[in-house]
Symmetry: C2
Subunit: 363 residues, 2 copies
């Protein structure tokens, strides 16, 4: 990272992603340097002199221009981000929950304080989807987004499809590989994907898309027999986040979907993520890459730092309130899949029987 | 396009792409305005008062900050770009030939004059590959790029694969659809792809990759029988531009390749383009989108203008001379394909028989 101005950085948190950020920045010929790492005392051996256990000291250190928030959790991290912005420090965060919940408040706060708030790592790991979408929504009209954005769910579905595993076994494996958390509820029930869609949708549609506005169903209930049935018909089962305009109303859904072999998501496997968006001038643009992992996520953070050192702050233009109507009535066709059969139904009938497993057909 | 500072733009050229730029900028609530369109007198009815037939008047107009060069051709366009940069005007161009041939000279000239030289539209139409690659090569180490970057060749191969057409018939169709030029030599023989690879490689590997350094073979000689043979073995035939490090030497090739169904290029059809790159921290990132057409290409130009109005100039860091050795010895495996059989050979043997059709196997 060369050519910008020199900055000191404080990293809050020394988990997987925090360690990745330190590894990349320390290892590069760079205009920036990690001066301080905020973590618990028990990490002193590993961190050495850069350890700081008191956040106030970081806020008061005028030589620190950028704060990287990779603490995880919500309450304390949210507080840190707000205090950092108010102290006129740039903030780079990977925290999808905070960005999703407080988008308008925090981006406004950054603007008032003339600092950057960057969050590329909050969606899609190392895929530069946020930066791309901000530019596209500024210069084009984006009217639909769809994404495979939860690595754990996609890993599970891939393993079930390719290896015939059960959901439980695939989840255990994902945990052992280190990219599923102990509590995988948000991954399995689709809430993690909904958080990410709310961020993408907010940028793309230029109005706050709340997590609560998204119709969300997860992958719980998927059995090897269902996967076998789907595969035998030439489909792959994916979990997708979709935000699109149907007429002039927004349709916001995170749910199981079926894709054919010609669909870009068909071969998006394991922890790989993919995001497609449609716009007036460009038809469809698709991005594919690693959606999780220490270094991909850390590299998204480093890319955000790079932009700050060049004075290139995010400039998503988002109205403070929702301007278009949200109507989450299902559209298109759904497959109701049981272990015995796979029945196609028009979308208007799918809410009738919540006891069955059903998946939208994505073209 | 909102939020930047207001600029006047001159568009040089009123062909397909020039018209697209005017359409998008005129139609948007925008911080910028097209003041002047440089074209021949015969376009006066269509262009009206904005027509300017004398380039000197544009150079001397101090209210014009950005010049969009979409003239096509080389000599005159190159002269215009140089004079514009020397007159301290920002330049946005779609001209892959000029950027490929004069990368170091023109980017240096822009830097000396403290103006931007942007060229997103030179590769991949509306896919934001240049902007993405500049960032990735600044913050990560990119060690391989591969791309389906010639829409005409890909259209022809897709039509031959899906409809059983001959190369000649598919080419005629591409011309009728308006995206193959009358002289399609550069498309069929791979030179167009090589120009684009030289630009991508220069940015990614941070040293000038000359078009002449790329081992280039086109799609001439592909017959329906060859396509049938390839398809029957589960492959798709594509034309790909590949630049990668093999050890510490650069391997630069534009040639026919075979991809399996799980490869991201397998379903990249017709005028769609795709570029993948591998880097140290991110493994593979793939971008897919429309690689040609008036509005996609124009939207890449508008995206470049958007960055300029925000002071976000391209900052690819490229050494003025080649630093790594180039060795274009083929690697991996090749298929020699005749109408009767498909024989796999190690790469070391493929130069032996130039009379046969052969394609590299891309994993």
């Amino acid at each position: 990272m060369q050519g910008g101005y020199f900055v000191n950085i404080a990293v809050l948190g020394f988990g997987t992603v925090g360690k990745g950020v330190v590894e990349i920045v320390d290892g590069s010929e760079s205009d920036c340097s990690i001066k301080t790492i905020f973590a618990r005392e028990k990490y002193r051996n590993e961190i050495g002199d850069r350890l700081e256990t008191n956040f106030d000291n970081i806020l008061q250190d005028e030589s620190i221009a950028i704060i990287v928030e990779v603490l995880g959790g919500e309450t304390f991290a949210y507080d840190c981000i707000k205090r950092a912005l108010n102290a006129h420090k740039h903030v780079v965060t990977a925290n999808k929950n905070i960005i999703s919940k407080h988008f308008i408040e925090l981006t406004s706060l950054a603007k008032e304080n003339h600092v950057a708030l960057h969050y590329e790592a909050s969606v899609g790991g190392g895929i530069p989807v946020i930066q791309t979408l901000i530019k596209s929504s500024a210069t084009d009209q984006v009217y639909a987004i769809s994404g495979v954005v939860n690595g754990t769910a996609n890993y599970i579905l891939t393993q079930m499809t390719q290896q015939g595993k059960t959901l439980e076994d695939a989840l255990t494996e994902a945990r052992e590989s280190g990219f599923a958390e102990a509590d995988a509820t948000a991954d399995l029930e689709g809430f993690d994907a909904a958080r990410k869609l709310s961020i993408l949708g907010t940028i793309a549609f230029k109005q706050p898309i709340s997590y609560d506005d998204i119709q969300t169903r997860g992958i719980n209930g998927v059995t090897p027999a269902i996967i076998e049935k789907v595969t035998s018909k030439g489909y792959h089962l994916k979990h997708a986040a979709v935000a699109k305009y149907v007429g002039n109303q927004m349709n916001l859904r995170c749910e199981p979907v079926l894709v054919k072999a010609s669909h870009p998501f068909f071969h998006v496997e394991n922890e790989t993520n993919s995001i497609s968006f449609q716009s007036t001038y460009n038809d469809t643009v698709t991005l594919i890459g690693l959606g999780a992992g220490s270094l991909p996520t850390a590299s998204a953070i480093v890319s955000d730092i790079y932009l700050i050192t060049r004075g290139q702050y995010y400039d998503a233009i988002v109205e403070p309130t929702v301007i278009d109507k949200i109507s989450n009535i299902p559209t298109g066709e759904y497959f109701i899949v049981t272990e015995e059969e796979m029945v196609i139904k028009p979308a208007s009938q799918v809410e009738l029987d919540q006891s069955q497993f059903y998946a939208s057909v994505v073209e």
